[in-house]
Symmetry: C2
Subunit: 159 residues, 2 copies
DNA sequence: CGCCGTTGGTTCACACGTCAACCAGCCTTA
DNA sequence: TAAGGCTGGTTGACGTGTGAACCAACGGCG
C-alpha cells in the first residue's frame, strides 16, 4: 500500500459535517422520542413496523430481516417490550419453533401518538430546512454510499 | 396541533436515504476498525485526539469537552483503555483532584497504524464516490442541520 | 422411517452508554 | 480561616448492543 491520501479541505469539511450531524441528529431524535413518548428509537422502529401490518402481528424473523437486527438483539428487545406491555409473544400455530409478536392496544396507542410527533421532529430538525436540491442530493448520496457499502460487503460473505 | 404533515415522496426518499446510510456506514467503519486494528470507534476517537497533542497527554475533562462525552462515560472508557494498555492515568501534579491521560507507546503504534486505514475506509465508502458538488452539499446540509439542532436545544438549557 | 443439516429463538457473557449519587480538592467570600 | 458552592473524577445500577453457544422444530434425503 502506498502513502495515505489524507482528506483535503473540502473533503474533510463534508466528512466532519456528516459525522457531526449524524451524532447530533440521533441524539436529538432519541431524546425527543424518549421524553415525549417514553419510547427509544428501537422501540419506535419495532412498533412502527408492527403497526403497518394488517393485523398488528409479525413473525420475529421477518421483523428482524426488515430491521436488519441480529436475532439475539431482537429477542431481548421484544422481551423488554413485552414486559412493558407494548407487545405480546405467543407460539406460532403453524410453526412450533417460532413465535408471533402482536401489538397490544397500549402499544398501538403509543405508536399512534408518537408517529406524528416523530415526523414533526424530523421536519423541524432536517426536512423543512433543506432545499429541494439538497433533499435530492441527500437521497442520491445515500443511495451511492449504500451501494458502495453493499459492494464492499460482497467479498466478505463467502470465504 | 394540527393534523400531521407526513413526508412526501421526495422527502421520504431523502430521509430514508440518510438514515439507512448512517446505520450502514457506522457499522462498516466500526467493523473495519475492529477487525483490522482491534479498536472501537470510541477508542479511535480518543487515541486520535491524544495523538494530536504535542506530548500525547490530556486532562480528561478537556478530552470530554472535545469529544462531547459525559464524564461518566469517559471515565469508564479510559478505565477500559488503561486495562488494555492503550493509555495510562496519573494524578495531575497541578490539580490534586484530577487526572492526566497519557498515550502509551502501544497506543501510539495502534493509532498510527489505524489512521491511514481509517481514512482509506472513509474514501472507499464515501468520499471517493461523491462529486465535488455532492461533497459541498453534504457539508452545507451538515451545517444547516446542526445549526437547527443547536437552536432547538437553546430553549432546553435554562428553565 | 430415521438421520442430519437448517432455521427460529433464547440465553449468556461481555462491551458500552446514561444517569444519578458521591467524593475530594478547588475557590470565593464573609 | 471556616463555610459553602463549584469542578474533576469515580462508581454503581440499569438499559441496551454483540457474538457465540445452545435448543427445539422443520424438512429433505437415504
Amino acid at each position: 500500500m502506498g502513502e495515505p491520501r489524507w482528506l483535503d479541505e473540502r473533503e474533510a469539511r463534508a466528512w466532519r459535517g456528516l459525522m457531526a450531524m449524524q451524532v447530533d441528529l440521533a441524539e436529538f431524535l432519541d431524546r425527543r422520542l424518549r421524553t415525549r413518548c417514553g419510547l427509544s428509537g428501537a422501540d419506535y422502529e419495532v412498533l412502527a413496523h408492527l403497526s403497518e401490518t394488517p393485523d398488528g402481528c409479525v413473525r420475529p424473523f421477518v421483523l428482524g430481516r426488515y430491521l436488519g437486527w441480529e436475532k439475539g438483539r431482537l429477542s431481548q428487545h421484544l422481551g423488554r417490550m413485552e414486559r412493558r406491555g407494548l407487545v405480546t409473544r405467543d407460539r406460532c400455530p403453524t410453526d412450533q419453533r417460532g413465535a408471533i409478536v402482536t401489538l397490544t392496544p397500549r402499544g398501538r396507542d403509543l405508536i399512534e401518538a408518537a408517529a406524528p410527533q416523530h415526523v414533526a421532529d424530523v421536519r423541524e430538525a432536517v426536512v423543512d430546512h433543506l432545499t429541494a436540491a439538497e433533499l435530492e442530493a441527500l437521497a442520491a448520496i445515500g443511495e451511492t454510499v449504500r451501494a458502495r457499502l453493499a459492494a464492499l460487503d460482497e467479498g466478505r460473505a463467502e470465504p
